[in-house]
Symmetry: D5
Amino acid sequence: MQVPEITQTLLDAKKNKKLSFGDLEKILGRDEVWIAAVIYRQASASEEEANKLVAALDVNPVYAKELTESPLKGLGPVVPTDPLIYRFYEIMQVYGMPIKSVIHEKFGDGIMSAIDFTLDVEKEEDPKGDRVKVIMSGKFLPYKKW
Amino acid sequence: MQVPEITQTLLDAKKNKKLSFGDLEKILGRDEVWIAAVIYRQASASEEEANKLVAALDVNPVYAKELTESPLKGLGPVVPTDPLIYRFYEIMQVYGMPIKSVIHEKFGDGIMSAIDFTLDVEKEEDPKGDRVKVIMSGKFLPYKKW
Amino acid sequence: MQVPEITQTLLDAKKNKKLSFGDLEKILGRDEVWIAAVIYRQASASEEEANKLVAALDVNPVYAKELTESPLKGLGPVVPTDPLIYRFYEIMQVYGMPIKSVIHEKFGDGIMSAIDFTLDVEKEEDPKGDRVKVIMSGKFLPYKKW
Amino acid sequence: MQVPEITQTLLDAKKNKKLSFGDLEKILGRDEVWIAAVIYRQASASEEEANKLVAALDVNPVYAKELTESPLKGLGPVVPTDPLIYRFYEIMQVYGMPIKSVIHEKFGDGIMSAIDFTLDVEKEEDPKGDRVKVIMSGKFLPYKKW
Amino acid sequence: MQVPEITQTLLDAKKNKKLSFGDLEKILGRDEVWIAAVIYRQASASEEEANKLVAALDVNPVYAKELTESPLKGLGPVVPTDPLIYRFYEIMQVYGMPIKSVIHEKFGDGIMSAIDFTLDVEKEEDPKGDRVKVIMSGKFLPYKKW
Amino acid sequence: MQVPEITQTLLDAKKNKKLSFGDLEKILGRDEVWIAAVIYRQASASEEEANKLVAALDVNPVYAKELTESPLKGLGPVVPTDPLIYRFYEIMQVYGMPIKSVIHEKFGDGIMSAIDFTLDVEKEEDPKGDRVKVIMSGKFLPYKKW
Amino acid sequence: MQVPEITQTLLDAKKNKKLSFGDLEKILGRDEVWIAAVIYRQASASEEEANKLVAALDVNPVYAKELTESPLKGLGPVVPTDPLIYRFYEIMQVYGMPIKSVIHEKFGDGIMSAIDFTLDVEKEEDPKGDRVKVIMSGKFLPYKKW
Amino acid sequence: MQVPEITQTLLDAKKNKKLSFGDLEKILGRDEVWIAAVIYRQASASEEEANKLVAALDVNPVYAKELTESPLKGLGPVVPTDPLIYRFYEIMQVYGMPIKSVIHEKFGDGIMSAIDFTLDVEKEEDPKGDRVKVIMSGKFLPYKKW
Amino acid sequence: MQVPEITQTLLDAKKNKKLSFGDLEKILGRDEVWIAAVIYRQASASEEEANKLVAALDVNPVYAKELTESPLKGLGPVVPTDPLIYRFYEIMQVYGMPIKSVIHEKFGDGIMSAIDFTLDVEKEEDPKGDRVKVIMSGKFLPYKKW
Amino acid sequence: MQVPEITQTLLDAKKNKKLSFGDLEKILGRDEVWIAAVIYRQASASEEEANKLVAALDVNPVYAKELTESPLKGLGPVVPTDPLIYRFYEIMQVYGMPIKSVIHEKFGDGIMSAIDFTLDVEKEEDPKGDRVKVIMSGKFLPYKKW
C-alpha cells in the first residue's frame, strides 16, 4: 500500500513535531483513531477540524481543504499481508459466524453499522503482558421490509 | 458456507429447546460468543465443557468427543458476501491502517493476538437506536528480535 | 449457484399453483421483490408472514420456521456470469464513481444504506420497447465522528 | 483507483468555481449523474456538450476533444472497498436472484439494458433521516432466438 | 463444469437417436447453436419449441417445462481451461482493444448487444485445412444520454 | 489498461490526420482490425507494412522498427470491465459450451485456431437498428495423436 | 481434483491387471502419455482405440463409447499445488519470456501449437541421478495477417 | 510485464549489433535459452560469463555485476495472456495429470527438478510446416522419507 | 478442506486405539510428521510401511495399497484461513525475501529442495511458555547452467 | 516485488563494502536473518541497532530513523513465483495439515506464534550435497477461552 502524498506529509510533520495521536486527540477534541483515519484519508474532517489539524502539524494550510473531502476508502489488498492488520481478517474468518449468530439472537435480522460507528483502541496494562482493547460500537440496523 | 453436520444438529437442538446463547453462557460458565464458536467448530471445548453442552442441548453424547478436537478454522470465502460479516471486513479495510498506527504508537512494533484473545458482543440500549458493542481484548505480542 | 432446497420447493409450488410474485404481494401485503428475497433466503419473514406464505403456496408448514431465520446472505460468484445480474455489476463499475460524487455533493460523507433499504421493480410500457425501472431507496447514513 | 489527469483537472476547476453537479445540469441540459460520468471518463459527450462543459469550468479548451472519445470504462477493483460503492455490489449479491426472478416473470427471458439506460440520484427528505433514491431505467432486451 | 442433469439426459438421448444438432435445426426451425444453448440451459425455449425438442429426443415430456425457464447463465470458471473455449477468451484478450476501436469508429460510443444477438458456426472447406467460421451479429446499442 | 506510448502516439497522429481505420485499410492493403491490432501492439507488421503505416500517419520513422517486433500480447484484466469488451467475455461464458458441442460434431476433437485466424467487423444497416457483424475464421486444428 | 468415475475405473483395472502405461503403448500402438491423457479424459480415442483399451483393461465395454467423446479439458486449479505439476507452471513462469524470445527469433511471430502437438516422457539413466526427459513437439503456427 | 531496464538495454544492444541468441551461444559457450534467461533476469551468470556477454553486446560494463546476482524470478500474471506463453500453461492444464501418472510409474514418487534442469528449443524443418521442439531435462528427485 | 475418506478412517482408528503420532513413530521407525503426511495423503509409503501402519491402526488391510500410491498433493485454499497453518504463510510473506538473501549469500543461486527434505516438530519446554520448534532440512539445489 | 528505495540503498552499500549478512551479525549482535528482515523493511530496529547498521554500511545517517519504524509487512503476490520462496509456500500446502495434527497432539489447540518467533538459516555441509537448515522457534500460544 502506497500511502497518498498528503498522508506521508502529515505523518512526517507529526513525527518531527513529536506529537502522538493522543496529543492530537486533545487538540482536536476527537478520538485518536478517527484522527488517524482522517490522516490516512479514510475519513473526512470539517473545515474547522482540518484547519486545527493542519495548524497543529504546522504544514501548508492548502492541505486542509483536501482533508474535508470524502475520500475513496479502503486499504487495497484483498487479504492483507501485514500481520497486525491480518489478525482482524482472521477474527472475521474465525469468529464471523459466531458473532452473526449472537447478534441475530440479541437484535433480530440486521447488521452492526460500520458508518454510524466508533472504534477505540485502549491499552490494558497487565502483569502477564499488556493487552490491546478494541471497542467497536455500531448502531444496529434492522433490515427494512417493504 | 455449508455448516458442518454437527453444527446444524446442535443449532437445531438449541432452537427446539428454546435456549439462547445467553442461557448456555449461564450453564457452561463461558461467554456466549465462545460457545457459539465451539458450536460452529471454530473453537475446541474441554471434555467437561463438551459434556455439559451436549447434555444441555440433549443431543447424542457422541457429539461431545468431536467438540474437543482442534478444528480446521475459518469461514471460507475470501471476501464474505453476508452483509453482517462483511462489515467486519470493511472495518479492516477502512480502519486497518489507522488502528495499526495507533497500536504501534502505544505499544511498539508487534500485534494484537487473535489467539490469546476474547471477544464480547453487548447490546447498548439507545433511544436513537440500540447499538452493537463488540469488545476485543488481545494480548499485545511484541516482535521478538534474535 | 445451487439454490437451497427450500427455495426450490417454494418456487416449484409457486409454479404449480400458477401464482405470480405479484399475486403473493397481494396476499402478504409485502412487495414482490422482498417476497422473492425471502424465498431465495436473502431476507427473513416474521412468523405471521412465513405462515401466510407457506399457506398460500400450500407447502409443508415446517418450512415456515426456516423462513423466519436470518440467512447467510449473498449470491456467491465474485463476478456473476448471468447476463441479467451482471448488468448490475457493470452499473456499479461504470457509474460507481459518478454516483459517489453526486451523493457526497448532495448529502456529505456517508453512504446509502443497503439495510434500511427498499427496492422496487416496475414495468414501464414504451412503444420503442418496454423498460425495466428499478427504484432503490436507502437511508442516507452520515459517517459518525468520535 | 487513480482518476485520470483530465478528471482531476475538471473536478478541481469545478470546486474552484464552486459549481455543483446540479449547476452543471442546468448549464448543459443533461442529468448531473451523466455529467459526472463524462467527467470520470465513463461516458462520452458530443462536441457541443464538451465545449459547454469546458467553458463552464473555464479550463483549457483542448480538454473538450478528449471528452468526446469513447473511454475504456470501469472502476477497476473486482470487489470495490469503498463503502458507498460496495453497497451497490452488496445489493447485487443479496437482491440479484430476487430481481432476476421478478424481471423474468414480468418481461420474459432477457435483461435490463445497462446501455439504453438512465440513472438518477435524488434526495428524499425524511424526518427520520433523509433517503437516497436511485432510479434506474433500462430498456428490456429480450433474448433473440435464431 | 458439471452439466445439469437435464443437459446430460438430452445429450444422451441425442446420441442414442443418432441425431446431430443439424438434424434438430431442421426439426425445430431454429439454428443448431441456439438449440445447443437451450440444451446446455443457456437459453429458454417457447413451450412449442420445448415440446418439439423433447419429442424429437423421445425423453420424458416433463423436461419440456424446464426448458422454457430462464436459466442462470454462464460457464463458471473465470478463465476457462478447455482449449477450444479458451481460444475465444484469447481472442477477447488479444483483439479486444482493436475491435473496440473499430466499432467506436464505425458506430460511435456503444456496444454490440450479446442479447439481441445471433451466432452461427459454419464449416468452410479448404484444401489447406478446413476452417471454422463463427459469425456473430449483435444489434449496435448506442449509449443513451440523459 | 495503460496503452503503450507508441500506441498513444499513433492514435493521436491518426486523429490529427483525420484518418479512419478504413482509410488505413486502403493504404496498407490489410484489414482495418488487423491494422488496429498492430497499433495496439497485439500483432507485428512486416518492415514494409510498418514503413507504410508510419508514413501514412506521418510520425517519426523510428516507430516503424518497433512495429515489426513480436509483442507480449493481451489486454490484462482477467475479466474486462469495459462493457463493449465484456460482451465478448459474456458470449464465451454463455455460448462456450454450445459452440464447443457444435464444432466437435462438425469437425471432431480439436479447436478453432486463434493464430491462423482472421476477424472482420462489419456494419449491417438495419431499419430496426444497425447491427455489428463480427466474422471470425480460424483454421480447424484436429488434436494430433501420437 | 476429483478424477471422473471412468478414470478411476480404468486406473483401478490397470493396477489390478498390473499393466503399465508402457504395456498399453505396445497394445494400442500409441504413446503412453497420450493413452494416459485418454484415460484422464483429456484426449479422445477412435472407436477402435477405445475398444482395444477397454479390452486390454477388461472393463465393461460401455466405457469405450465415452472414451471417443471430446472431453471438457483442463486440470482445474489456477495454480496447481501438486509439486510435480507445479514445476511445469514454474518453468512457464521462469522460462516463458526467454522461450518466447528464442522462438520468435527462430520462427518469427507465432506460437508453438498445443494441439498439433506431441509430448514424450523418457527416463535418462544417469549415475548422478536419473533424469526425466520431456520432449514437446508442436507445429509452429505463424500469425496470419489479413 | 514490464521488463527491467537492464533487460531492455541488453535486448536493444543485441538488436543493434544484429546478434542472434544463437550467435551469443557461440560466444559464451552456453545455450541460447539460458542466455536469454540471464538477459531476462531469470538466471544468474558467473562473472566471466557476464563480462563476455556485456563485451559481446558492447554495453556499459557496470551491467556485468548485476547479471551475476540471484534475481527474484517469475513472469508475474497468474495466467499469462500472451498466446505463445499461454500454450505452456495449457499443456500443464491438459497434460499435467497424464505426465504425473507416467513419471510416477517410471520413477516412483517424486518430481522432475526445475532447478537441476535444462531446456532446449530447436527448429524441426517439416514440409507440412516447421515444428518447435522443446526438450526439457530435469533430474528426478525422489521424495525423501524421514 | 474435506479430508479424503481414507484419512478420516485412519485418524478415527488412531483415536480409538489411543495411539499418538509419537507412538506410530516408534512402530514404523519413521518420523511422526512424515507418518502424518502419509495419513493425510501427502506422502506415499512403501508396501512394508503401509502394512505396518494399517496393522498398527487395525483397519481393513485394503487401505495399505492406497497408501503406497503417489497422491495429488496440496491443501487447497490459496491463502489458508486456519490460524495455525496461516502462520506458515505469514512467515513466507514476511521472511521470504530475507531468507532468500541469506541463502543466496551462503550457497549461491539455487533453492532449498522441498522434496529431498525433512521436517521435524519438537516441543521446547520453557518456563515463559513452551515453544514449537520446526526444523526443516532441504538439500541445496544450485541452478544448473547449460 | 519492487524493493523500497531504502532497501536498495542498503543492499548496494553492503555489496560495495563487501560485507556479508554474517559480518553484520557480528557487528550488531543480532542474527543475520533478522538483520536482513530489517533491511527489507519487515522488522524494526532500535535506535541503537539502526545507528550501528547505518554506520557499518556507511550510508546517510538519516536512514537510521526509518529503520526504527514499524513497517507495513509482507511480500505481495498471493502465490510467490520465485522458486526459492515458492518452496516455503509448497511446504505449507503439502505439510500444513500434518504439522497441524502433530502440533495439536503435542500442545493442544493453539498455534505457533510468528511474532514471538525466531528463524535461523544454517548451512549443513554434506558430501552428497550441502543442505539448507531452517530452524523456526515460535512460542506456543494456546487458544484462550472466555
